[in-house]
């Protein structure tokens, strides 16, 4: 078992769920990283200028410099200490900035210097032409006194990181569309749904929906977060617009249909469903929704009628078996069962008749039989049960037929406490002899067993069975009679 087998390799590599290697970075991610580096390199330039004046006062967050440099040092040491363990197992995901060893308070700026070195100069000059960066670059050059008021100088990456850590952050400075999207992409790359949603909330507030929808179309992960968020806060209208703008009409229809669950009053719910009929469902679903509407419409009629009949005490069936619950909002099959129970034999024209329900909802023969059988057996209407299976052929002979095996019929009847006399009729109809005998034994249909053995001319089995029945009982006598019949030619 410990040997590696080629076919097992196969599973691991060919399966849809590839074992990942942790180093296959997405292209998008790489691109983003480049821009991140570019932004960082600008900062380092800006901060270098500041630094010449006074290092102590550089504070991005209002936190004292000491704490940041402390945390940088910590990161540095942790990277060093875990390095060897990690290298062994995985290629690094992040090419962590190779930090120069520097224990002075200046380590912060040297960190960025280090970064600038790794980021190529080319990307630096390229990004300088980038308008989005120029937007805030001049602000960074403001006099120090003003500069202090600025809390929000973080790059998208830093902002996302701060949000993940639950630190103070600010999204207001992401004003250009490009910045906003950069922030969103960074959040998506951090795989933190919480932050993605937070950024989306900000975008929802600060972008017109048309623009936001347009941008989300190409951003599947963000889009799904957005949809989920809207679902959770119940912004139906906006969701409808969103689906519409993306041509996801079926999703839209289903989502609106879902709302019927919130409508308690049955008449209002019916009207709501009627309204749903015009929604752009897939053809199949449209039929189902149509059924749903028709069903509720009829249930309302049946319910009103039966309630009245029941309370007036006109019909015996309701007196004998009072209704346990209302039929409203029950599934089709339950409705059919109800109708077979209370409205059996009504003419096809009435809404409550089994035949009408069967036709309206295109119920299969098998399904109809099963439901009807259950209902009539429950009422112990064995005559009705019998009639269900009886067919006449053109010669006028009657024969029992069933779209499902008779052994299942026996099972259903038995569960409804059918008496042995009824059961044995159906056990007899089971075609497979072995199955017939085992069923007959299970339900103690002696006649069936005895007759079957007789027909099989199995004397031995009959003798064995004689030992099982009570001495002197009618079964016993019957076996004796058969065994003493000299006309029979036994096979053993």
């Amino acid at each position: 078992m410990m040997r590696g087998k080629p076919d097992e390799d196969d599973y691991w590599n060919s399966s849809k769920f590839k074992a990942f290697t942790f180093d296959d970075e997405d292209d998008d991610f790489t691109r983003l990283k480049e821009s991140k580096r570019a932004v960082n390199s600008i900062r380092s330039l800006v901060e270098e200028e500041d630094e010449e004046d006074d290092v102590e006062k550089v504070s991005w967050s209002g936190e004292p410099v000491g704490s940041i440099s402390w945390s940088v040092k910590e990161t540095e040491s942790s990277i060093r200490s875990t390095g060897e363990v990690r290298d062994q197992s995985f290629p690094k995901i992040h090419t962590a900035p190779s930090l120069p060893k520097n224990s002075s308070g200046y380590s912060l700026s040297s960190l960025f210097k280090g970064k600038a070195k790794t980021g190529s100069f080319q990307s630096f000059s390229e990004s300088f032409g980038d308008p989005s960066i120029r937007n805030y670059a001049p602000e960074l050059r403001k006099p120090k006194s003003e500069y202090k008021d600025y809390v929000s100088d973080w790059t998208p990456e830093e902002t996302v990181k701060r949000m993940q850590q639950g630190k103070v952050y600010s999204l207001e400075k992401f004003r250009s569309l490009q910045d906003k999207l950069l922030l969103l992409d960074e959040a998506v790359n951090a795989h933190d749904g919480n932050v993605i949603t937070a950024v989306l909330i900000y975008l929802k507030k600060s972008l017109s929906k048309e623009i936001l929808f347009r941008e989300l179309i190409t951003r599947e992960i963000a889009l799904r977060h957005y949809i989920h968020y809207l679902k959770e806060i119940g912004e139906q209208k906006l969701l409808v617009e969103l689906f519409k703008s993306m041509d996801r009409t079926e999703d839209m229809a289903l989502m609106q249909y879902r709302d019927h669950l919130n409508v308690r009053d049955e008449n209002k719910r019916r009207d709501f469903l009627k309204n749903c009929l015009s929604f752009p469902f897939s053809p199949d679903d449209a039929t189902h929704v149509q059924d749903h509407y028709t069903l509720l419409e009829r249930q309302i009629i049946i319910e009103a009628n039966d309630k009245q009949v029941e309370s007036s005490g006109q019909a015996d069936i309701f007196k004998k078996y009072p209704r346990k619950a209302s039929i409203l909002n029950m599934p089709i099959i339950t409705t059919l069962y109800y109708s077979c129970f209370y409205h059996y034999g009504e003419s096809d024209g009435t809404f409550s008749s089994p035949a009408n329900i069967r036709k309206t909802f295109r119920i299969s023969d098998k399904q109809f039989l099963l439901t009807c059988l259950g209902a009539r057996a429950k009422l112990k209407a064995w005559f009705d049960v019998d009639a269900l299976f009886t067919t006449k052929n053109w010669l006028g002979y009657t024969k029992k037929r069933s779209p499902i095996g008779f052994h299942r019929i026996v099972d259903i009847l038995q569960k409804n406490n059918a008496p042995v006399q009824v059961l044995q009729d159906y056990v007899n109809l089971v075609e497979d002899v072995e199955q017939k005998i085992s069923l007959a034994q299970k339900y103690k249909c002696h006649d069936v067993i005895i007759n079957t053995y007789r027909d099989l001319k199995d004397r031995q089995q009959l003798i064995v069975y004689r030992g099982k029945v009570e001495k002197g009982s009618s079964e016993y006598r019957k076996i004796e009679e058969i065994l003493s019949n000299s006309q029979l030619r036994w096979k053993n």
């Binding site: 769920f17 363990v85 639950g166 909330i201």
Partner: protein, 557 residues
């Protein structure tokens, strides 16, 4: 490295430490709010909280009364309230502003605090802000990530993970999983190697790495060796199969919640139901939990006979012997007696339920589906199941199993089965079907695709020569093919480990992203015994077919 090759299996790490950490943090949070306060607890968090702290502990920290979160105005005498809305799902949480605003309408001003566990969401805070109660209500986090359920099972207790991630595509729990891994790592690490399959695992891994790099690093004695991260959707077949080991069956039938099960009066043969902890402390349970249920009865009756003999020793004892017997053995025997009668009761009740619904036939159908033969018979079995309106979740489970193993249903079958399902269980399940389709659990076969796709996917798991070997190895477990499938999978992993690394560490940790079943845990325990390893299973939640599918339902307002 400090940890050299250790082939002697040491004890499992002491995970009770995790509980202590969680408790200490909770107490710290409570002490942040001096004075008497009421604590409101979300229903989902009750059981996990029970494992961490008891009422006495809470009372010691000025908690006046405990309430279950019900979304209606609060009647309470305390003027300061801790609203322990330890809530995971955002949806229920939404009614919270109403409570505060109702209070305000009454002219009352009370201080509220919401403590989110294991973390707060920006979306929640945003809602507070939008409702104008930000500030009236303060928030905090209780970073309660890991709950040890047993010596070798740790759960994140995040059943929402599955739906949120796989269905909605929301990655809000990914960082949580990363944080949990980080916690495990900082207390019991460092890990020697981490392996993973699946997108979510990869993301959780990356999130964890990030947190490691951000945080401080302590040199520790490594207590955990290799870590395997596995996405649930790597194998959705196993959790959809009926479970056949004792623990799995108990979970399927009685629902184990947070390592605790409530046996109904039917089982206890008295008029009350009893809550029982199911873990390795329960000696009887510990011996049968991983066994195929057909072997459990024999074992239990043997055990009962032994117990009888032990009791019978009493006769013929003199007074002194009797005294030692009473003081030393009797208590243990009584305890065992109690447990034994419970598990016998549970087995009986399980048998009754299972024979009623023709368990054998059900297993046969599942087996045929996995092996890929007699598919038409399977379909008509499922059809009848639906027609007779037998358990809805069960019907759905079989449909999903059919779809997974056949790589989708034929369009004709799909339409007909869907129509019958809707007729039997309600048309609103249209929504459920749409969810299942989205998730790929129940789909139509795409034209052009042939069965060979299925053979390469599922067949790899089941229909394989090596499966035979596992059948021997798994003895009772492998009787049912889902174990074979599972065992095969682990075996695969095993080979990978072998190839990559000479086994040096004893502990392997499995982090199952999005849930893991007791059967899978049983299989891992078995494999561990075979290989002389110990597995620790860390999962976002213990799941089974019913929980998995119920999370897909969409038929409630």
């Amino acid at each position: 490295m400090a940890h050299s090759v250790r082939r002697d299996a040491p004890e499992l790490p002491d995970f009770s430490l995790l509980k202590r950490l969680a408790r200490d943090q909770l107490i710290y949070l409570l002490e942040q709010l001096p004075g008497r306060k009421d604590l409101f607890i979300e229903a989902d968090l009750m059981s996990p909280l029970d494992r961490i702290a008891n009422v006495t502990t809470l009372k010691q920290h000025d908690v006046d009364k405990l309430y279950k979160v019900e979304h209606k105005p609060i009647v309470s005498t305390s003027d300061q309230m801790v609203r322990g809305c330890f809530l995971y799902p955002l949806t229920n949480w939404f009614l919270f502003p109403d409570v505060v605003n109702a209070d305000k309408a009454f002219g009352r001003f009370r201080r509220y605090k919401i403590i989110f566990s294991p973390q707060k969401f920006y979306a929640c805070e945003n809602l507070l802000e939008e409702q104008g109660i930000f500030g009236d209500v303060t928030t905090d986090e209780w970073s309660f990530y890991l709950l040890p359920l047993d010596d070798d099972i740790i759960s994140l207790e995040l059943p929402e993970f599955f739906r949120d991630y796989f269905l909605e595509g929301d990655q809000r729990w990914v960082r949580t999983a990363g944080s949990a891994l980080h916690l495990l790592h900082s207390v019991y690490g460092p890990f020697s190697k981490v392996y993973g399959i699946g997108r979510c695992s990869k993301m959780a891994y990356e999130s964890w790495r990030e947190q490691v790099e951000e945080g401080e690093q302590r040199a520790l004695q490594a207590e955990i060796g290799n870590v395997f991260l596995i996405d649930r959707d790597v194998d959705l077949v196993t959790p959809l199969c009926s479970q056949v080991v004792y623990e799995g069956l108990v979970d399927d039938i009685f629902r184990i919640k947070c390592g605790c099960v409530e046996f109904c009066p039917d089982v206890t043969s008295s008029d009350k139901s009893i809550k029982v902890m199911l873990n390795s402390q329960d000696k009887v349970f510990n011996e049968i939990r991983n066994e195929h249920f057909s072997q459990v009865f024999g074992f239990l009756s043997q055990k009962a006979r032994n117990l009888q003999t032990a009791y019978d020793k009493r006769s013929g004892m003199d007074i002194k012997q009797m005294k030692t017997f009473v003081s030393e053995e009797l208590k243990g025997l009584k305890q065992e007696h109690r447990l034994l009668s419970l598990h016998i009761g549970a087995s009986e009740s399980m048998m009754k339920k299972k024979t009623k619904q023709d368990f054998q036939e059900l297993l046969k159908t599942e087996h045929s589906l996995l092996e890929g033969f007699e598919i038409r018979e399977c379909i008509s079995y499922i059809e009848e199941h639906i027609n007779r309106q037998v358990s809805m979740v069960e019907s759905m489970r079989l449909l999903c199993l059919l779809s997974l193993t056949e790589n989708g249903l034929l369009p004709k079958d799909y339409r007909s089965l869907k129509a019958q399902f809707l007729q039997s269980y309600g048309i609103e399940h249209l929504l459920t079907f749409s969810n299942l389709k989205q998730l790929g659990l129940l789909v139509e076969q795409q034209p052009g695709e042939t069965l060979t796709v299925m053979e390469s996917r599922v067949g790899k798991l089941v229909n394989d020569k090596t499966a035979g070997k596992l059948t021997d190895a798994f003895s009772s477990l492998a009787k049912k093919s889902n174990f074979r499938a599972l065992g095969r999978r682990i075996n695969n992993k095993w080979d990978t480990i072998m190839k990559w690394n000479d086994i040096s560490w004893i502990f392997q940790t499995f982090l199952k992203v999005c849930g893991c079943t007791f059967s899978e845990i049983s299989a891992l325990r078995f494999l561990g015994r075979e290989k002389g390893l110990k597995f620790i299973v860390v999962t976002t939640a213990i799941t089974n077919s019913a929980r998995l599918l119920e999370s897909m339902l969409d038929n409630h307002a």
